[in-house]
Amino acid sequence: MPEPIRYKTSDEVDFVVIGSGAAGGVLAKELSTNGFRVVVLEQGPYLTEADFTHNEVEVLQRNQLTNRPSLQPTTFRKTPHDKARRQPALVYGRMVGGSSVHFTANYWRFHEIDFIERSKVGPVPGAALADWPITYADLEPYYTKAEWELGVSGLAGASPFDPPRSKPYPMPPLPVKSGGVIFERAARKLDWHPFPAPMAILSQPRPGRSVCVQCGFCESFGCEVGAKSSTLATVIRMAEKTGRCEIRPNCYVHRVEINANGRVIGAAYFDAKSVTHIQKAKAVVVCANGAETPRLLLLSTNRQFPDGLANSSGLVGKYLMMNSGPSAMALFEHPLNDYKGVAVSRILHDFYELDPQKVGFCGGGGLDARFDMTPISFATTGYDMGGLPPGTPKWGKEFKATLAHNYTRSLEFVSHGTSLPVENNSFSLDPNVNDAWGLPALRMTYKDHPDDLKLGAFLRARILELLDATDAVQKWASPVEEQEFAYHLLGTCRMGNDPKSSVINADHRTHDVKNLFLCDGSSLVTSGRGQPTLTISALAYRAADRITALAQKGEI
């Protein structure tokens, strides 16, 4: 393979793509394949399979693959009336491939309802629920393209609630685990409809990529054999092979540059030594995730945009949604050994679409059975929930005995549901706290909409019902609580037709700046039911088509 191309910062490339995750990686490949010259600026390092390990201390405790709270502090408050306090508020992948490298690889499509929920259920007090400017049918070809190009294991037609699809999955589901069998049997007893989980992990080999070796280190870890369908393992390599795309790691973009005519001219970034460079480009596509994308716009103020670039609506950073859903743990008589294999093998969508008249709230969700705790996490009561029952001593003989007995016999049941868009829920710039580069830190403001908490209580009750249909010898559930930490960063530069109530249009172009596009979790108008990554990649495939068409017509 030839050396990948290197551009000078003074070369005016066609596109700078900021971020290389589920969206940025796809856009890099699509745009460079379509003949454009592309520079991808990635905040994190360029790691590969050879760099990935099972080292829990480095990965989970020292943030080897994620944003670093020590250098990139965040603050949190529940409402705009509260004073924000410094606390870790979010996690995202900080490396080439972004969060698609370290995610669990649950790969659900959104359903039709997710795009038209506002029309279907009417207004919801306290929420700015809106229809998308596109429908499921518009996105369907791109879901299919993502599934086939990136590689997804699943069984089409196995769920009666699935939306229509133009093609089956490219490969069969991964092997069922003991947890999946327990889940499947219990759900069928209740006349629910469990089905094999669609996962962005290979059950059949692809050129240059191994099938899943069932090592069990999916969530939070990078896949050492390239079986997880991250953008790193797939489209980023394809982008580099075009000879027109440079992936430039360790570049922390802190400003999108704009000229007097209101056109974007490039992106300013700190290199690894904190020296600032400006990469020139004819157009910029920001794919930095639902937290860093709005932050970058808010940092990029100028005379024309004193409140942040492309923020004439005042909505940049607002309507943050992060999905929600309580979970429960159960202990079984015999070893499941669910530490082996991918985290999730069975899910169900019976509660995806609920009737608000009947349940008394707007929203819905899905359930899965999983074991995604690595050994140290499982044993560390007080870290997250840990895997041990409440009341287990934290050390000593009984601690050891419980740990020894439970590790192979435990299973977690997790729900995943909607978050409603609430204007106060947002990312903004903290006026008092800076990051290690002297830039204002991310401030998260978040208080779950009452309907989200009602949904949580509903899903929790379904989990307990499901657990009652198993032979679990012990079970315990987390309470429904207001959230203060985000794994999914959604909705903060939402898509829409009206420049007053949205930040980007259906082509992902900002309403305010003709040659500035945004595509990532921030584009989402609704939160979906808890697994947004496939939708983010499908949007990126579609955005690339739209942007290419505009460029070819000379309309950028």
Partner: protein, 223 residues
């Protein structure tokens, strides 16, 4: 820990220049090589202490041995937790040095306060040792806590050591702890990089998706 990481990286780096297809086809060989590198790293495992004096190490080992005691299965002592902690304090856990430097003497002061004439944790009987560690519980069994003159810094130290002990007992043995995978043997985790179904008790007789649907439907009809 850094050493074994860099060895592994060095070893695998060479592969990235080759075609990914080669890497995929040769995965089992790569895996074997990586495993070999880890074994080599392990055989050079820490015999020398980098942070603790041998007296301190004896104390840390004694405390860790109450956190995860040795009974009919290995405990923190057999897993070499003290070496993991020692190495951690000069590498990944440098920020905790102060906690240990100040915390261990504070804990020893608690020992002296509770047991006249004693100054070392390792000199106590296991029962006495547990009594000292329980004095850091937020509440004792009676719901009341005896007040001690000695510093609260010891409490933070004990909590930090508790977490480090668990990490050193359960971390993948390739990364400087969990000697001979002792901790994984205790919890029933096999030391392999690859697994194959069936994985456990409940999936070993799974008849396959299509059959399972029909079987469950038949059972429902019988009812």
């Amino acid at each position: 820990m850094n050493e074994s990481l860099s060895r592994r990286r060095f070893l695998s780096r060479g592969v990235t220049g080759l075609s990914a297809a080669w890497a995929s086809a040769h995965w089992p060989a790569l895996l074997a090589a990586a495993t070999h590198a880890h074994q080599a790293a392990k055989s050079a495992a820490p015999v020398k202490l980098g942070f603790f004096t041998s007296d301190e190490a004896k104390e840390i080992d004694a405390i860790a041995s109450r956190i995860i005691p040795t009974d009919d299965t290995p405990g923190a002592h057999e897993a070499g937790v003290v070496y993991f902690v020692d190495r951690g304090l000069t590498t990944f856990s440098v920020d905790d040095q102060k906690t240990y430097r100040e915390g261990l003497p504070a804990l020893q002061a608690r020992v002296a306060e509770m047991f006249q004439g004693k100054s070392k944790f390792s000199e106590l009987t296991p029962e006495q040792q547990d009594e000292v560690l329980h004095s850091f519980d937020e509440q004792n069994a009676q719901g009341r806590q005896r007040r001690f003159r000695t510093s609260a810094g010891a409490q933070n130290f004990f909590e930090t050591l508790r977490q480090h002990t668990i990490a050193g007992f359960l971390i993948d043995p390739d990364y400087g702890g969990n000697r001979d995978a002792a901790g994984w043997k205790v919890i029933g985790r096999e030391r392999e990089h690859m697994f194959q179904p069936p994985f456990g008790y409940y999936d070993k007789d799974y008849p396959g998706w299509e059959v399972a649907i029909k079987a469950d439907a038949n059972e429902a009809e019988k009812k």
